[in-house]
Amino acid sequence: MDLQQFWFVLIGVLFTGYFVLEGFDFGVGMLMPILGKGSDTRRRVVLNTIGPVWDANEVWLITAGGAMFAAFPEWYASMFSGFYLALLLLLVALILRICAIEYRAKINDPKWRAWCDIGIGIGSWIPALAWGWVFANLVRGVPLNSDRQMVGSVWDLLSPYALLGGLATGILFALHGAVFLVLKTGGEVRVDAQRIVRLLLVPTAVIVGGFGVWTQLAYGAGWTWAVLGTAVLGLVLAGAANAAGRDGWAFVGTTLTVISATALIVGSMYPNVLPSTISPLYDLNIYNASSTPYTLKVMSWAALLATPVVLVYQGWTYWVFRQRLTVEQIPAPTGLPLISKD
């Protein structure tokens, strides 16, 4: 494996980490209004399952972005300037979500919380739908000209395939979040989350399966048949384990599906990172978009040394907060009233 291939895989791994970890964060945010309907304590149970970890989960995206910049600057430059409005939308959503999660409990007032819940909703639904759409476009190709600039209109990015990709990540993350909630909660919230898992399983299998088969047939390589298989296997496992009340295995199942789906997408792109729909001559691939061997070598050392440490301490965080949450464990609101008495 040469350094370009190594970095392509590593960025794939960073995005996989992001989708696995933020996948259920988005799912939790998407399901919060449904599972918490009518009870603020229940909404807080749902939100606090990701309380200590969501911020670190999000850093996988920041680091993936930094790694793209360092290893494939041409990819970073063309993609980020090309997907301008999509990224603007994503950034607004992420900003709203961060502030809404952190500020929700700061003021003890129903209206304040309602606004924060809207922020959490927007910040979870938009990225969950948008990431699949963006990545489907990366597989399908974009109108990239000889200057490595994306030209054409936004309609080029709204193909049925790309829109199906958005739908696929949207519903997959919702299911992943529901399975995570079954694993992390107890009592009534867990029972309701199980019901949502059952409700989502078949539509997820249809949409994600459809997108997977389309990707495989149109863009896939030989070996990606295998990851398509494990993606399906993951969903089957999730469904069977959920029915059997084996919450940990159900979560392993959806995690496997998210990993496989990312591998399928990234594997179908290889060796391109941004194929051009105008001419194959303008394709950006891992060789014409990469940094120099020296930069890649330095960054490889940094990644090989730092990533295991990150995995260990992030894993430890999940261990520390492994307890299931129930409504009884949620303390009374400690926020200040909306209007000061001073």
Partner: protein, 497 residues
């Protein structure tokens, strides 16, 4: 509107906004770690109350700092794609290292700190806030290293075939003399900000409690607020000395490496031997020769530039402009003289707010005194924003002083490694960038109001009552193995969103 102007406004607004919150985070994390350490070591409950109180303010600030930081990671590619192509080989490395080493650390351990009060052993929990404090400072190092490359590119060569700058030595990049001077300056500024913030709030609370007439509150002022005020004033004093010292080193480097920036900072139009340091000028600054120097001090400027009082010749803006025209082709190489001149003075002048608070604070709390003077309470509040403004002014000076360059040519390096902002910008329709500029400005404006409202509310609400028991430090299991017998069967979370 010109695409370069809109993109520059957008980068300026989003970065200045980000850097309102960043210095408070960088400086406050170690201060809170110190407070918590004091609690763990002495067992005194007021240190626990202070840790929790400033911890809340810290988290309100941390959230918005994170939210505004994400934009920065993407903006290089979105608005400055030609720049990203040209220096990505070099510039991407510190950004990726920042994510890998610093961001993961601070974001993971802040989660452990927030939610771990009763879940982690006391010393492990204390370690988490120290790791956060280390992480936030490490991230500052990497991003300052990235910025310093733009100011003074080192460790790189130009490849004429790809027309890109290529990294030659990561070590040279990470030990750039500009980085080694700018990083301590930025951190010292951050400690000055956080020290002033804590001292200002403590000062205001001392007076408020002392005037309340309630003996319990007076006791709070004496036992809790006075020590933390004096502690943070010591931080202000140390940070102040560090700011001056590192600023002086940085200034000398800039005279050598970025003479145009320093000539603009002084409104020095023509090359001159032993010029006076200008304190006040009048005139339409962007016409260099129209500037009238009103107030000047001799000997200061030669010392700032080269460490000696006489015998120093400094290049003027007009002469540098001619030199650059020859070296880099025709063009306007002058930064905005008005902004560079006044932001430099604002940066230095605004630090006076912290100095005033420092002197007055030590005076009114001398020999065990608890101040009740109303003027001191006003001074405490008014001093708080001054270091924030000084930080902004300093960055505005640094960044606008390098214009029109995105990558300033290194006078002793490869002259091909240079790029103007004109060449760096993405090829967007101006309307697209005007739209995103409007979106960010409105969103940030609204969030700033929320941030200020929350900080104000929580400052005025004060720490929780002293009757509140300090958190149980014992570890517990999911089945309650280690739970003490008198506690209820279902233990509530010590913190929940």
């Amino acid at each position: 509107m010109d695409i370069v102007d809109v993109s520059r406004w957008q980068f300026g607004i989003t970065t200045v906004y980000h850097f309102i919150f960043v210095p408070l985070t960088i400086g406050l994390a170690p201060l809170i770690a110190i407070m918590q350490t004091a609690w763990v070591v002495t067992g005194k409950e007021h240190w626990y109350r202070l840790t929790k109180f400033f911890g809340k303010l810290f988290l309100i600030n941390f959230a918005i700092g994170v939210a505004t930081g994400i934009v920065q990671e993407f903006q290089f590619g979105m608005n400055w794609s030609e720049y990203s192509r040209f220096i990505g080989d070099i510039f991407g490395a510190p950004l990726a290292l920042e994510g890998l080493i610093a961001f993961f650390m601070e974001s993971t351990f802040i989660g452990l700190w927030i939610f771990g009060w009763t879940r982690l052993p006391k010393l492990v929990h204390l370690a988490t806030i120290w790791i956060v404090a280390f992480g936030v400072n490490a991230s500052a190092y990497f991003i300052v290293a990235a910025n310093s490359f733009m100011q003074h590119p080192v460790g790189a060569r130009y490849n004429p075939e790809t027309e890109r700058a290529e990294l030659e030595s990561i070590w040279a990049l990470l030990t750039n003399n500009t980085t080694l001077a700018a990083f301590p300056h930025v951190v010292a500024g951050a400690f000055l900000t956080a020290g002033t913030f804590v001292a200002g709030i403590a000062g205001w609370w001392m007076v408020r409690n002392a005037r309340s007439g309630d003996p319990a509150k007076l006791e709070d002022a004496r036992v809790m607020w006075r020590p933390v005020a004096r502690l943070s004033l010591v931080v202000v004093a140390l940070a102040g000395v560090a700011v001056i010292f590192t600023g002086d080193i940085q200034g000398k480097l800039m005279f050598e490496q970025q003479p145009m920036k320093m000539a603009s900072a002084e409104s020095l139009c023509h090359t001159q031997t032993d010029p006076d340091f200008s304190i006040l000028t009048v005139g339409t600054h962007n016409n260099c020769d129209s500037v009238t120097h009103v107030l000047e001090v001799p000997y200061v400027l030669p010392y700032l530039a080269e460490g000696q009082f006489t015998g120093v010749t400094l290049d003027g803006v007009v002469d540098l402009q001619q030199t650059y025209n020859v070296e880099y082709g025709p063009g306007d190489y002058r930064p905005n003289l008005f902004v560079t001149y006044w932001s430099f003075r604002a940066m230095i002048g605004l630090a006076a707010g912290s100095v005033l608070l420092l002197l007055a604070g030590f005076w009114v709390t001398r020999g065990g005194r608890v101040p009740d003077q109303r003027w001191f309470s006003w001074l405490s509040l008014l001093a708080i924003p001054t270091p924030f403004l000084a930080n902004s002014a300093g960055w505005v000076f640094t960044e606008m002083g390098r214009q029109p360059w995105a990558v300033v040519p290194n006078p002793t390096g490869d002259p091909n490694i240079r790029m103007t902002v004109q060449q760096a910008v993405s090829d967007h329709a101006p309307a697209t960038v005007v739209f995103s500029l409007a979106v960010f400005t409105l969103l940030y404006g609204a969030l700033a109001v929320v941030w200020f409202y929350l900080i104000r509310r929580y400052t005025v609400a004060g720490p929780d009552e002293p009757t509140r028991p300090t958190a149980d430090d014992g570890p517990d299991g999911p089945d309650g193995k280690h739970r003490k017998s008198e506690e209820p069967a279902v233990e509530q979370l010590s913190f929940a969103y």
